[in-house]
Amino acid sequence: MTTTQTTPIIGQATRRVTGPLKVSGQATYAAEFSKDFGPELAHGVLVTTMAASGRISSIDTEQAEAAPGVVKVFTHLNAPELPYEEPVMRPQVQPQVGDPLRPLQTDQIFFSGQTVAVVVAETLEQAEHAATLVRVTVDETAADTDLHAAHQRPEADEKQDTPRVSAPKKPAENGKMTGRPSDVTVGDPDAAFESAAHTVDLDVEIKTLVNHPIEPHATIAWWEGNTLTVHDKTQWVDNARHKLALAFGIRQEEIDLKVDALNTVKDAVEGVLGVQESSVRVITPFTGGGFGSGLRTWPHTFLTAMAARELDRPVRLVLTRAEMFTSVGHRPHNLQRVRLAADADGRLQSVIHEGWQETSLYEEYTMNLLNTTRMAYATPNLRTTYRLVPLNIQTPTSMRAPGECSGAHALEVAMDALAYEIGMDPLELRRRNNATHDVQGTPFSSKHLAEAYDLGAEKIGWADRPLAPRSMRDGDDWVGLGVSSTFYPANRMKASASARLLPDGTAQVHSAASDMGPGTYVSMTMVAADTLGLPLDKVKFALGDSDFPHAPVHGGSMTMASVGPAVKAACEAAIQAVIELAVDDDASPLAGASADDVRLEHGELIGPGGRETLMAAVARHGEPVEATASLGPNKLQALMPSDYAFHSYGCVFARVRVDARTGEPRVEKVVAVNDVGKVINPTTAASQTIGGVVMGIGMALMEEAILDPNFHRYANDTLAEYHALTNRDAPEIEAHFVGEPDYELNPLGARGVGEIATVGTSSAVVNAIYHATGARVLSLPATLDKLL
């Protein structure tokens, strides 16, 4: 008799299966695979440039090379030329226009902090010391990092050498929400704005924010013949594998992965082409945060693999915290102008939202800055205008709810201002403009925002809030309550998984997914256990190995919605395989039944003539029963034709205190209520929400990478001066969920939590500060100098 699970697991608050490993420090992150290598492991350290623009005129490595323990100093003068082949189709995480930075392949300098050399030595201390001895001289040209000045320059035309402002060169793939069209117009927004009863017109600024996972990016790479193995901090092992294969021109891998890029399942490809062994393998079982910084594969990863190949020994390279500011992307500095117009009843008549966002000189990073505006509220007239401003900075990247977070912030601050312009409760204004479809008329799949407003209002005590700002005082503090809606598109992409049922009564489930913290390990274990009717401890889910079945990027809040259904399908396929075996097996109580008449219930196979547990049938078979499955759309769901617009919705309420003497703002309480479809694990979904709120408070009050206007370099490039929220800054946070499973999106009904958790918090906080003080902060962060 084997154990079965008779009660549901999905939807039950469940502890992380990785918990004991993490709390004892035994979860192995990329850099920590150093333990698998002896003194053979060499240590790489980057050398970066101070100059922000120009060409390297000389690079003196003599002293560094002579330093004790130094194995080699790589520069653009001696590094091998790498093929860096172009993929057939670029993944969504990579800018579609421009070329990635390829340090040591060029003498050109695009930004301050760019890598110009790699020092490899026997020990870390030796490499760090030698890196200080490399002398780099740059023939400098004028650099520009001033978004305020640059965004006002005329738009680029073909004749200009250096375009200053431009619309995205490869805009929306279609009119869908995930596209980034330069301009969208519905109705006559200007005329409607001019004739409306109430209007607001705000300029909003969001400074550069940096992802800053606490685990720095790190790579260990080694070659065995032509086979490259890499431990890399990443949110997408499959893409890292793909990129490494292309970079080193590993053809076999490329064939495999070209097809992969089109989302055909890896296993199928390997079957067809007879490819048995991968020549690149990326293994990253644990990722210590990322929030987007691990979506792409960054230059240091290629450089580490290059050094390992040249030196024919394993090399380990870990970015310093300062390098984390200029090596793995950031949330771009952006300027926005929002004009809203409403009639006397507070019904929106016109929405005009313009955004200017920095990008690098070598790549066009685009994000969904204005997409939220095109679906958030009902309006007959709307225009969004999106412009990019290339500057001497690294290419920005996705940081938790990229685009939406910044764009929705500006929109929600403007909604608050509009409510005060009308003299209406800001929550009531949102209720009145609650939309049933996006501006293109596509209905939402499942939306429970009104319930979220009700629950959040109750939990924060909104009913007692006086409308007037600066009307709540407690001792030395002005007190205020603010609200914001929150939105994030629900996405899904094809994912695969394998399920292996073992005669010992356990199951192994694999997918090349990642877990940077949300709890992929536990939620996938839950889905598998639930499907198989097994207790959690009988299921072992593994991820983070590019040899596992393909998974899409661990970003865009789509892991649960993509990998979850694949895990379920793989388990169902394995169950089906067992049923086929059992009906053919005379020793089974199911013998002779038609497979179609057998079903699984609570871990038991039930047929017309009898029943036995699933795992008893596997045990009798005596060998593992394995199945793989692949499920989901070939492209991002949002780019597929569909009758529905898929989004998650919610609201954030914040209560703040602002010290009347010093202007210091503190957040006292936050209530976040989200409709994310089915919640698979309430424990980790709540933690994700709380974590998103914490990051949002940081964005509202303190986070900012400050660019020195003279040196074009971040002046506060440490965690001591780039202020992330500490424990004492973090208020009481409640996370609630409303809504129902969204089966239009996927068979689990889950839409994902990770990003919506961050959207809306910064605006709720800033709106609460307005309510407390009467000061409307338009440029983040809302530091005390802006409140005095």
Binding site: P68, Q126, G289
Partner: protein, 180 residues
């Protein structure tokens, strides 16, 4: 320049005396991680700003990235591995799992070591800016504000602070810390 000579020291790590020939530039953190393969102690900033590297040095919490290993001769270091391993977790580690006081887990060992030290500090009456008159034996009554203040040297970018506080609150009730 001439190669820096190594320095021989003996450091007791988690109860085991380790004789080490050290590069004088090596931090205690890198010595633990790269020299002794004790990767439980994490490196987040290498600048004393994040707390991921927190260990106990002769019973007091320190940022191991700011300590040169050669200065630890004859001292006792306790890392997270010395506090509890997966099959034998310390009650505070259990409490972190129970209250989901982490997501990615990278800051977590530092939080755990800090938390263990915090309980001992409070029990021995060490004050904080929240309460300069903390009396001994008050570890069990630590307010949330007091816990947050004392845990603010450990940044959690995943934002698990409410869970961390809940775990500390629970552990403060149940653990009798050794008096310093």
């Amino acid at each position: 320049m001439s190669p820096p000579s190594t320095v021989s020291v003996t450091i007791t790590v988690n109860g085991e005396a380790q004789r080490l020939d050290l590069d004088p530039r090596a931090s205690l953190l890198d010595t633990l991680r790269l020299g002794l393969d004790l990767n439980g102690t994490k490196k987040g900033c290498n600048q004393g700003a994040c707390g991921a590297c927190t260990v106990l040095l002769d019973g007091e919490r320190v940022n191991a990235c700011l300590v040169l290993a050669v200065t630890c001769d004859g001292q006792k270091v306790t890392t997270v591995e010395g506090i509890g391993m997966p099959d034998n977790l310390h009650p505070l580690q259990d409490a972190f799992v129970e209250h989901d006081g982490f997501q990615c887990g990278y800051c977590t060992p530092g939080q755990i070591v800090s938390g263990v030290a915090l309980l001992a500090e409070a029990a021995s009456g060490q004050p904080s800016v929240v309460d300069v008159d903390l009396s001994p034996d008050s570890a069990a009554q630590l307010s949330d504000e007091e816990i947050s203040e004392r845990m603010s040297g450990n940044i959690c970018r995943c934002g698990a602070y409410p869970g961390i506080r809940a775990a500390l609150r629970q552990a403060a009730q149940t653990i009798q810390p050794a008096r310093a």
